[in-house]
């Protein structure tokens, strides 16, 4: 079934969930509400999109869009070699949405990475802890209001001094 037909079928089945269907550079993008993502993705998996290629998030603070955070899922169908991007929008006050780890096991680590870098929580995830930054890191680095140079985490380590009379460098 070509992608356009699948998308109109999804729009009929879940009218409240689908916010928009757009196209850019010959690719389809499906925009949905964050809370209904598990239902929409289960339906898409049944329709032939059996491979989750990528899971990431975008902070729409300066871009505009339906809500502040958008979690984007890139799906691939091995049978028809078609790709589809699904974007789930969640508001800033309550950044959480259901986890799709029950559909694809690859979402395990990728959702942990999104939690680490953006602070978005995934309900139903078996082990939602930080994966890239140290466990005592404070803040969510990839949000647009976090400075690139960080908040002094990279300079609070002990300075090792050796107890010898040796000069540091003679030339």
């Amino acid at each position: 079934m070509p992608t356009a037909t699948i998308l109109s079928k999804i729009k009929e089945r879940f009218p409240g969930a689908v916010l928009d269907i757009t196209e850019f550079a010959d690719e389809h993008i499906l925009h949905v509400q964050g809370q209904d993502i598990l239902l929409v993705l289960t339906e898409l998996k049944v329709d032939g999109f059996n491979f989750l290629a990528d899971l990431t998030a975008i902070d729409n603070l300066n871009l505009g869009g339906f809500e502040r955070f958008a979690v984007s899922y890139h799906l691939l169908s091995h049978k028809t070699t078609e790709r589809l991007t699904v974007k789930a929008y969640i508001p800033e006050e309550k950044p959480s949405l259901p986890s799709v780890e029950s559909l694809w096991k690859t979402a395990d680590w990728q959702e942990r990475e999104v939690f680490d870098l953006y602070g978005i929580k995934f309900e139903g995830h078996p082990n939602l802890i930080r994966i890239m930054n140290p466990d005592d890191f404070d803040g969510y680095p990839l949000r647009k209001d976090y400075p690139r140079l960080g908040r002094k985490e990279r300079s609070d380590f002990p300075v090792i001094k050796r107890p010898f009379k040796k000069e540091k460098r003679t030339e």
Binding site: A53, D54, H78, P134, P141, R148
Partner: protein, 400 residues
């Protein structure tokens, strides 16, 4: 009389830290293993020891500057990363490159693929004790580095592509140098296979270790040689061709068992197919320019125009100054490519400025590595280097 009752021996589980600094982990990986005797009952990998904030940097560098950062990701085959980013940026902006550019990009990607697979097979052999394969592969990698140096200027961090083409054209006589190296690669691949394929120790240490089933591979998002070794028939160069890969004639290697031995065989066969593609690319190389400049402000003008004419100078400033030139459309693009590790794609979101709004790499090393804790359960401790070696984890891509 008291009876001596028999009680079973109690064993305690030992927790072992396969630390971030260890010769058998290729890069900075940490695995916390629970062992019962020599058998691993549970393994928890911990990553992030090389997290450098690539994606945060991408929001401050413009489209051409980020290419220099992409080579630090998968540092064994940096040209594949450069090509993947340039393809994503070109799809977003809507630029078509010339045919000669596409053929040179294919040649460079395949040479990087040969280099990556040689190193990976060499490191797998070294971890299991067979040092000779590593030395053969490394000596040949130096010759491939010489080829990169002639074309791009450096050995490892090449930054060869531009949005809209390449930094410079390949020089005259390059094809003779490449063919000489390709003949050596064919011989070395035969030598390595002669040493390892029928070797009893190699087979005992790699057969039936770390078997991935087809359903698990799809559920865990595995791609590349690891997926093809489990029987999944998916190669992006054939199924979703990019950069004119459909002009070339080559086979795709698929194995059925999904263990470490099969992944090694798939990689060796891919080296041979890459040699075939390189030869075809050199024979059919079309003439032409490598930089297509549709006047959008992405490619630097040639230097003699910059120094000798005022229009060239103004255009040079338009491309490089931070508040001029480069107006991409508002939108997003994702282009998947077949890197030696699997599906490598860049997802670029732009809001019309010079710098992308969000640059995301789809890292094949991270996604392939997530299956490790399932694979090692039930195996012995000494199988861990074999399995890590066959996954080809590269820490730069894993942590970004």
């Amino acid at each position: 009389m008291t009876r001596v009752t028999e009680q079973p021996l109690e064993t305690d589980k030992m927790v072992l830290n396969f630390g971030p600094h260890h010769p058998a982990t290729h890069g900075t990986l940490r695995i916390i293993m629970e062992l019962e005797g020599e058998t691993v009952t549970k393994a928890t990998p911990e990553i992030g020891y090389l997290h450098s904030g690539f994606e945060k940097l991408g929001e401050d560098l413009d489209f051409n500057q980020y290419i220099t950062i992409t080579d630090r990701m998968n540092y064994l085959s940096p040209l594949c990363n450069n090509v993947a980013y340039a393809l994503a940026a070109e799809k977003l902006i809507g630029i078509e490159v010339s045919k000669r550019t596409e053929y040179i990009r294919v040649l460079m990607c395949e040479l990087s693929r040969i280099a990556d697979h040689l190193l990976n097979v060499g490191m797998l052999a070294v971890d299991l004790g067979a040092m000779t394969a590593f030395l053969y592969g490394f000596r040949l990698r130096e010759d491939i580095y010489d080829l990169f140096e002639i074309a791009t200027g450096t050995r490892l961090t090449t930054s060869y592509t531009l949005v809209g083409g390449l930094m410079r054209d390949i020089p005259e006589g390059y094809d003779k140098a490449v063919i000489k190296v390709l003949n050596e690669v064919a011989e070395v691949a035969n030598d390595i296979e002669t040493l390892l394929n029928k070797n009893r120790i190699w087979q005992n240490r790699t057969k039936n270790i770390g078997i991935i089933s087809k359903d698990d591979a799809i559920s865990y998002g595995i791609s590349g040689p690891m997926a093809r070794a489990s029987g999944i028939e998916w190669d992006i160069r054939v199924n979703e061709p990019y950069s004119r890969y459909d002009d070339f004639d080559f086979d795709v290697a698929i194995a059925l068992n999904g263990d470490v031995f099969d992944r090694y065989l798939v990689r060796m066969e891919e080296i041979r197919q890459s040699i075939k593609i390189c030869r075809q690319s050199l024979e059919k190389m079309p003439a032409g320019d490598v930089i297509v400049d549709p006047g959008l402000g992405y490619s630097l003008p040639p230097k003699d125009e910059v120094y000798n004419s005022i229009e060239g100078l103004i255009y040079h400033f338009e491309v490089t100054m931070p508040n001029r030139g480069m107006t991409p459309p508002v939108g997003e693009a994702y282009v998947p490519t077949e890197s030696p590790n699997g599906e490598l794609g860049f997802y670029i979101v732009s809001n019309g400025n010079r710098t992308p709004y969000r640059v995301r790499t789809r890292p094949p090393s991270l996604i392939n590595y997530s299956i490790f804790s399932k694979l090692i359960e039930g195996h012995m401790l000494s199988d861990a280097p074999a399995i890590i070696g066959s996954i080809n984890v590269i820490a730069g891509e894993l942590d970004r």
